[in-house]
């Protein structure tokens, strides 16, 4: 178990939990985070350098419990698991929707060159935009959008990408966010003939590549993913359409 060193509010209904952990973590990998007596949930690493961190949106009992932790609380941390992003040399475009920014900011920090990475962050409304200031430290081109127009461009982050990309070229697109948004980014990549890497989410039990709960198109999100290429997504019939519940039954996204 690890001792939580800080819990900070991160926009509306979100928090970042930092903890010391002497393990190498790649951008895009995730932890299995245990709240004793309650649950264990997969959480993308939102900080991979120095003190590790996760950024949580309060949506259920486990995530609410995580956000009510205090410095000094103890949680179990398994992992990191998953492949993470394969960050390649060249100019990068990061497209984040909602808490997807948590997964992508470490990519910008890995690149570590403000000229080589552009960052687009979208959310439903101003209060749900996260890591914008953190992004500005890593990039000269940070742009935001909100669905309700309360900050930045009025529209989705996919619309923002379409507008922004007209004047630039990239070697790789990295994207994380709700699956409907990712489906939009896939179309964007195809239109612009850009290669892309996408971080997916599925209901997860073991987190270790065994149980098969998180399979999409024959690939395990926990072990073969969570990051998949454009080519891999093209073979996944259920991408953007449906996922599976705890029983393995199909449900529409």
């Amino acid at each position: 178990m690890v001792r939580v060193s800080s819990v900070e509010r991160e926009g509306e209904g979100m928090c970042t939990i930092r903890f010391p952990l002497e393990r190498h973590v790649k951008p895009g990998q995730f932890f299995m985070v245990w709240i004793p007596g309650l649950d264990e949930v997969p959480m993308t690493a939102s900080f991979v350098y120095g003190e590790k961190g996760i950024t949580v949106r309060e949506i259920g009992t486990a995530t609410k419990a995580l956000c009510s932790l205090k410095a000094g609380s103890r949680i179990g941390v398994r992992g990191p698991y998953g492949n993470g992003y394969d960050v390649l040399p060249g100019r990068a475009l990061l497209i984040a929707g909602g808490t997807g920014a948590a997964s992508l900011l470490p990519v910008a920090e890995f690149i570590g060159d403000q000229k080589q990475v552009d960052i687009l962050i979208g959310a439903r409304k101003k209060g749900e935009l996260i890591f914008v200031e953190r992004a500005r430290k890593q990039s000269w081109e940070v742009h935001v959008s909100t669905d309700d127009g309360s900050e930045g461009m009025h529209g989705t982050v996919v619309d923002l990408a379409k507008r922004h990309a007209q004047k630039r070229t990239y070697d790789m697109v990295y994207a994380c966010g709700p699956e409907k948004m990712l489906a939009g980014v896939v179309d964007f990549c195809k239109e612009q003939a850009l290669p892309g890497q996408f971080s997916l989410e599925r209901y997860m039990k073991c987190g270790s590549g065994l149980c098969g709960s998180c399979v999409i198109g024959g690939k395990r999100v926990c072990a073969d993913g969570p990051v998949f290429t454009l080519e891999e997504l093209a073979k996944m019939q259920e991408f953007g359409g449906w996922k599976r519940d705890e029983c393995g039954l199909r449900i529409k996204l």
């Binding site: 264990e40 179990g76 073991c206 590549g209 065994l210 098969g212 024959g218 029983c247 393995g248 039954l249």
Partner: protein
């Protein structure tokens, strides 16, 4: 290349490596992924009558020598499983349907449905160590096991494999009862009852508290069970428990197994483990001028 083909009851397998139940077997697509990785056959996740969520997390503890799990038999139920079987049965290797139930009648009904879906054999889960009223709670009673196998035998024409638990001193009796009931093969072993406690939280880690131990830590127990079963019963045996290398597979085969199942190794080593073990077995056979794997089955017995 050594000849890796093997026969388990009426099933002809291109190689002796079978995907164990409960690993990547919940969806048709993931069964196909395992077949593509080189499995000679695959066993589905155990399916019951109704959709079942299983236990809450944590459901898995990673140890140096294996895992302890208590998934709680999550599955989409037999009706929804038709679609997964339709996808999986597109492949050219046998699909073995695994079933769990509380009564002989339900076992028979489920087995019949899986046969209808295209399964080439059924595996009866008489051994899950952590589900109330299911699995090993009935699988340690020879009378109940015989009745279940007999009921299933009456409802299908494909081979029946009984997967047994090591959590009993009556394994041989249970195996004999399964054979008496009409089992065409015995699968041994399921996981050993186990627990891990977090000393800082001062509580068991798994949400179900207890679970089942799998992986390399289990292998010597499994090999011993297969060795004893080979002397006790006359039906084909499938060895399972901690197979990660070609040497592990050979131990089980020499103890008496006609095939082995692979589970935890997929998490610990990845899907490449199927090709790796097959290659190792093939090279071993070439080096030792063994023409057919069948010559090695039970070779450790006098």
């Amino acid at each position: 290349m050594g000849n890796l083909t093997t026969r388990v009851a009426s099933l002809e397998l291109a190689n002796p490596l079978i995907l164990a139940s409960g690993i990547m077997g919940e969806t048709g697509d993931s069964l196909l992924a395992v077949i593509e990785a080189g499995a000679g056959a695959v066993v589905t996740k155990s399916v019951g009558l109704e959709p079942r969520k299983g236990y809450g997390n944590p459901t898995l503890v990673e140890l140096e020598d294996g895992y302890i799990n208590a998934m709680g038999l999550p599955n989409p139920g037999i009706d929804a499983f038709r679609e997964e079987m339709r996808v999986a049965c597109g492949a050219k290797v046998p699909i073995i349907g695994s079933v769990f139930a509380a009564t002989a009648e339900d076992f028979a009904l489920l087995a019949n449905r899986l046969q209808e879906y295209g399964a080439e054999a059924v595996e009866l889960n008489l051994s899950c160590p952590h589900a109330k009223g299911l699995g090993m709670e009935i699988g340690v009673d020879p009378g109940a096991v015989e009745a279940i196998v007999k009921a299933v035998k009456g409802s299908i024409s494909i081979p029946i494999f009984a997967k047994l638990t090591p959590n009993t001193n009556r394994l041989m009796e249970v195996a004999e009862a399964a054979v008496q009931g009409g089992a065409d093969g015995i699968v041994a072993i399921n996981t050993l009852r186990a627990m891990a406690i977090d000393i800082e939280a001062r509580r068991p880690i798994l949400s179900n508290k207890g679970g089942g131990l799998s992986g390399p830590a289990l292998k010597p127990v499994g090999v011993r069970c297969i060795y004893d079963l080979h002397e006790a019963v006359g039906v084909p045996l499938i060895g399972v428990g901690g197979v990660e290398t070609w040497q592990d597979a050979l131990e089980y085969i020499m103890a008496g197994a006609s095939a082995v199942q692979i589970g935890s190794a997929i998490g610990r080593k990845g899907l490449g483990v199927f090709a790796e073990i097959n290659e190792g077995l093939s090279e071993y056979m070439e080096r030792n001028r063994v023409k057919s794997l069948k010559e090695l089955v039970g070779a450790a017995h006098e």
